[in-house]
Amino acid sequence: MHAFDIEIAGCVIHAETIHTRPEAICRDFIVTDKIADIDIRITETDIDVDRKEYEACFDICDPWEGFLEVSTLCRLLTNRFIDYDTILLHGAAIAINQKSFVFSAPSGTGKTTHMLQWIRNLSKTIVINGDKPFLKFCEDGSILTCGSPWAGKEMIYTNTMVPLKSIILMERAENNHIEQISFAEAFPTLLQQTYRPEDADKMCKTLRLMQRLPQTVTFWRFQCNNFKEDCFDVAYNALVRDQR
């Protein structure tokens, strides 16, 4: 059993895992001498849940347990985080001038490719998390995009929290086009990309938190072709330049 403490989204988590891999993945979030808000002890049964899901999704038999346990820790933590007004949104989160933007879409749409365009074109771009940022709903009404170690294949992340300004729902298209949309328009896709707990009470809490989003966050539909030259400019002009 391996025990370590991490701090994510302002919460201290004491984790006990079977393999060393989760601790290695979480290395930039390790804290010491802090009192834990959340205790997570992973069992073989917990890992089995992720094994079944992984095998069903990727048609791979008998994946390495240490690898699976990283996902197990993420899943168990995401479930517990709902009690701390924090939810997981599948997307690539970046920050510019202390404002964050989450590009959300199903896997394979081009979130990471687009995120890399921001890094290339705008040196002040900070990547909060390339795949699974947490959104923390604060008591003062603000919503923070929080870094986490679960950051997809590229593993690009920063241990930071930045106020959320916009959620951009990406879809592949021939030409680049971005437009602001209402929360009602964004909601079905947004929900698909949000972690949805099995527990009904936790799911209802997730929905209540999501209903706070339109108070401070704008929503955009981004029809995106990462291979066209104007891709970054179209997004940047709408999201950052024209919003100053």
Binding site: A184, F187, A200, M203, L207
Partner: protein
């Protein structure tokens, strides 16, 4: 006839969106967008009312003839069954 899942209805102003919650809810892809009439029927289904109770409740609330309301309700419920949301 009953709903196969529990739902939480999110109020979006112009429309309501019913989101499946709880056991097995993630098997159901997507959400149900409801207009005002659909919301009235859906609320009654969530309360466990059967088809004739729903028709009767809506007739009491709105000044419309029974056959028109029966048509709306039957059509709505048929759609839910087709979407495997109700059984």
């Amino acid at each position: 006839m009953k709903l196969k899942y529990d739902f939480e209805v999110v109020d979006m102003g112009e429309e309501k969106i019913a989101v499946p919650v709880g056991n097995g809810a993630n098997n159901l892809r997507g959400v149900i967008k409801l207009n005002d009439e659909g919301y009235e029927i859906f609320k009654l289904l969530l309360d466990g009312k059967n088809e004739s109770e729903i028709i009767s409740a809506i007739c009491n609330k709105y000044d419309n003839d029974v056959e028109t309301i029966r048509g709306y309700v039957e059509c709505f419920i048929k759609e839910l069954v087709k979407m495997q949301i109700a059984e």
